[in-house]
């Protein structure tokens, strides 16, 4: 099963590379247009010469085949925006994004699930959890981020306002911003799944056998309630890698989201293409991982 899924991922990646290349290539404008907009001294002759030099005068299909050839020979190209090999740019951006969103998602999953379970087990706490979830869902991330910066960086001066050179302290505000925004979904899913699991027949059987309430909750109900939460984590894997553009921009952090946005807007085909493919592959691997975890937790789908 795993081998078949991996083969499927490989075929999908090749197909996506073609689709991405064509979509990016068909977008209006090219890098030379942007260069002309920034420098009126570029003459018509300069523009034609530069287009030929960058291969932009070639048909799209030839450019795609040339790109595939270069990738197969281990050279995915050079970034026009950063004047660096694209592979050298994606690594640090991916690491930064995984660090940021890994922590944020981890906190959101743990705190959100805990709140959801609390709401299911203690009905009197449910309104408070629902209010918190509603708040987390309705507060715009960029607004929360700005508020956190103003309070903790500008007024109190405890934490850096942004940048990637602040070490672990630089992670606190962006992680808090993202974790709060994602918490609501996990709290709601966990609450409804747990409430549903607590009404299943085997829970009644466990109670009849005299099992304690905590054993019923954590040993019997929670593993069943965790299945939809794991599905949600699998779906979030794509978002994990494609980054959070607004948070990355607001806290001036490097990351995949900002990299992809800049590459597409700046007409950096090589960079945009490789970054999008990395996101696609990780999303598919995340989905595979979630499926495997579900199979491990739920014998019915084995």
């Amino acid at each position: 099963m795993i081998a078949a899924r991996l083969a499927q991922i490989a075929i999908t990646t090749v197909a996506l590379s073609f689709v991405f290349f064509m979509l990016i290539g068909l977008m209006p404008g090219d890098p030379i247009d942007l260069a002309i907009a920034g420098d009126p001294r570029l003459t018509a002759e300069d523009a034609a010469r530069l287009r030929a030099l960058h291969g932009l005068d070639q048909p799209l299909l030839s450019r795609y085949l040339a790109w595939v050839g270069a990738v197969l020979s281990g050279n995915p190209g050079f970034s026009r925006l950063f004047a660096q090999p694209v592979a050298a740019l994606i690594g640090p951006a991916l690491l930064s994004t995984l660090t940021l969103l890994g922590f944020a998602l981890g906190i959101a999953v743990i705190a959100g699930t805990a709140l959801g379970v609390l709401a299911a087990l203690r009905p009197r706490a449910a309104p408070a959890v629902q209010t918190l979830a509603l708040l987390a869902q309705s507060v715009p991330g960029f607004w929360l981020g700005i508020m956190l910066i103003i309070v903790f960086a500008v007024w109190l001066g405890w934490l850096p306002a942004g940048g990637a050179d602040g070490g672990w302290r630089g992670l606190i505000l962006p992680v808090a911003t993202l974790a709060f925004a994602n918490l609501a979904a996990y709290a709601r899913h966990a609450a409804s799944a747990m409430a549903s699991a607590l009404h299943d027949p085997w829970i009644r059987s466990a109670r009849a056998r005299g099992a304690s309430e905590s054993r019923i909750a954590w040993r019997h109900a929670f593993p069943n309630a965790a299945v939809p939460v794991i599905t949600l984590i699998g779906l979030d894997a794509g978002a994990l890698v494609s980054g959070a553009v607004i948070t990355e921009a607001l806290f001036a952090r490097p990351g995949m989201g900002k990299l992809i946005f800049d590459a597409i807007m700046g007409n950096d085909t090589n960079l945009a293409l490789l970054a999008l493919l990395v996101v696609a592959v990780v999303t598919m691997l995340g989905s595979l991982g979630a499926d495997l975890a579900q199979r491990a937790l739920d014998p019915r789908i084995r």
């Binding site: 977008m27 209006p28 404008g29 090219d30 247009d33 942007l34 260069a35 002309i36 907009a37 920034g38 420098d39 009126p40 001294r41 570029l42 003459t43 018509a44 002759e45 300069d46 523009a47 034609a48 010469r49 530069l50 030099l53 960058h54 050079f78 026009r80 925006l81 950063f82 004047a83 660096q84 050298a88 740019l89 640090p92 700005i146 910066i149 103003i150 960086a153 500008v154 001066g157 850096p160 306002a161 942004g162 940048g163 990637a164 050179d165 921009a249 607001l250 806290f251 001036a252 490097p254 900002k258 990299l259 800049d262 597409i264 807007m265 700046g266 007409n267």
Partner: protein
């Protein structure tokens, strides 16, 4: 008591410690650090600290020598009129490098470095940006280690402006270029090994690079000019201006460069809020915001309609309300601070009644829905496009649409991201209405590329050219051809005056304003002189001091 003295001593020592690091926030990251590949404001800013061109325009918009010893003129004999081998008028220009110039690794900067830059620039495979300068320099003769003679195949008044021709370190770059000129732009040490000291000729050299995030500079020990004050300069890229302001307030950046910093309205709000914590200086610049009408549109081809559109807009009020009065209203494409600006140029006032009368005269009568129609029943409805995401321009668009509606003109806002807008939409002249954007130029820059009829993009010319409005005027064409070859400054003045008069009358573009840069400095920083053009203030960074 002893502890008190100790505390006071430590505190005094801390206070007395000189500030030797300056952290600068900018909103754009340079796509390359190579001086001759691709021009962009961020690169001009960063390179200002670490390398010097032969000449530059200073803060007074005068051309000065930086690496050269004396500015060549016909009077001092360093420029001589001659005839090119193919019989055209040409020039022979002598450029002599200052004594004692060295690259960061101690190697002297010599004529060979100029020769290498010239050879690489002349080769079309190298991929340098604007190559017109290199094409015009058909011969370079090395006279001695510091002197070259450059022969150019045209005579233009700005022959001494050699800002784009700058020495490249032949001792480290020539072999890379010779190995494969087509691959030079991806193999140059400027991008592969930017911390190599041999690349830099300015008061600072690059000591660390974090792509997309920042660049750290350190004093260049081989710099032979005035010693710079700051030991380290950190340039941090924060594209979001809200985040940049937050970093300034949190003390993570000391200053925000006006060349690539906050919009004036944001800087003005920051100045009001922080009251005396920062010094904010506004500098008029050469970025010309305008609206280009597509003259293929029959309605816009009528000069009276263009004049009415301009008179229907209260530009001064927009500047006052949206930009706190911090932009300079434009009356032509020549900045009032330019030495060739004609103060007598016609100024179109805000006069909605006259605008309406002009539209009536042009055959556009008020329709039942308030929008004017011509005799054929066509509505006077125009697409108004600009770069999506540019908050200032989008706000201005709303005001323009409202003011035009008041005189019976409908403006349909249709914005696109810059890559799309400056791509096919502008390049292929697809917007049949009005396009709002900006041009940047140098002082006394002849606007041939944007006004000459030869520069109208057409399919036959593969859409090259920047006269995207499609403006044609025989007298303007002649002026644009005569201006560059008129060497005498006073003889050029009437030509410039005539060009501005035609511009104001014909309105090939509706002038809005010249943008101002807002420079935000800490109170302790001195010596920064903003220029308002692409030769950015760091070209004189050795004069920056901490109080």
């Amino acid at each position: 008591m002893r502890f008190l003295f100790l505390f006071l001593f430590v505190a005094a020592a801390a206070l007395a410690q000189p500030r030797d690091t300056l952290t600068i926030g900018i909103t754009q990251y340079p796509s390359t650090l190579h001086p001759n590949i691709e021009n962009m404001a961020a690169k001009s800013y960063v390179l200002g600290f670490v390398r010097r061109p032969l000449t530059a325009y200073d803060a007074d918009w005068s051309l000065v020598c930086l690496l050269c010893e004396t500015l060549p003129t016909l009077e001092n004999g360093l420029a001589r009129l001659e005839t090119t081998p193919d019989g055209r008028p040409g020039l022979r220009i002598t450029m002599r490098l200052r004594a004692g110039l060295r690259w960061g690794d101690g190697t002297p900067i010599t004529s060979e470095d100029l020769r290498f830059a010239w050879e690489a620039g002349r080769d079309p495979a190298t991929g340098f940006g604007p190559a017109e300068l290199y094409r015009s320099m058909y011969e370079l003769i090395v006279i001695d280690a510091r002197t070259v003679e450059i022969r150019v195949d045209r005579v233009t008044f700005d022959f001494a402006s050699m800002g784009d021709f700058q020495p490249l370190p032949a001792h480290v770059e020539r072999a890379i270029w010779q190995a494969d000129p087509r691959a030079y732009r991806t193999r140059t040490l400027y991008d592969r090994e930017p911390t190599n000291p041999a690349l830099w000729s300015g008061p600072y050299r690059v000591s660390a690079v974090q792509p997309g995030q920042g660049i750290t500079l350190e004093r260049n020990p081989m710099w032979s000019g005035v010693a710079p004050h700051f030991r380290t300069i950190r340039i941090r890229t924060v594209e979001n201006t809200t985040a940049l302001e937050a970093q300034l307030l949190a003390g993570q950046v000391d200053m925000i460069a006006g060349e690539l910093g906050l919009p004036v309205e944001q800087a003005a709000a920051l100045e009001r809020r922080t009251q005396g914590r920062f010094r904010v200086e506004y500098r008029a610049g050469l970025i010309y915001e305008h609206i280009t009408p597509n003259l293929d549109n029959p309605a816009l081809a009528d000069r009276r309609v263009r004049q009415a559109l301009l008179m229907a807009v209260d530009r001064q009020r927009i500047v006052d309300q949206l930009f706190g009065g911090r932009q300079t209203v434009a009356h032509s494409n020549v900045n009032p601070l330019d030495r060739m600006a004609d103060s007598a140029v016609h100024r179109w006032p805000f006069d909605a009644a006259r605008a309406a009368a002009l539209l009536d005269e042009a055959g556009w009568r008020a329709g039942p829905d308030g929008i004017r129609r011509n005799a054929a029943g066509d509505r006077l409805a125009l697409d108004l496009m600009t770069t999506a995401g540019n908050r200032s321009r989008e706000q201005v668009q709303q005001v323009l649409a409202a003011q035009w509606r008041a005189v019976g003109v409908e403006a349909r806002v249709r914005n696109e991201p810059p890559r799309v807008f400056f791509g096919e939409t502008q390049r292929q002249r697809r917007n049949q209405g009005l396009s709002m954007f900006a041009w940047i130029s140098a002082p006394e820059s002849v606007p041939r590329s944007t006004m000459h009829s030869d520069e109208i993009p057409t399919a036959a010319r593969n859409w090259s050219g920047q006269n995207s409005g499609g403006f044609r005027n025989a007298e303007v064409d002649e002026l644009l051809e005569r201006l560059p070859i008129t060497l005498d400054t006073e003889a050029r003045r009437p030509l410039w005056a005539r060009l501005q008069a035609i511009y104001a009358e014909e309105l090939p573009a509706l002038p809005l304003w010249f943008r101002q840069d807002a420079h935000v400095w800490p109170m302790w920083l001195e010596g920064v002189r903003p220029t308002g053009h692409l030769n950015a203030s760091p070209l004189w960074a050795e004069q920056w001091r901490a109080r």
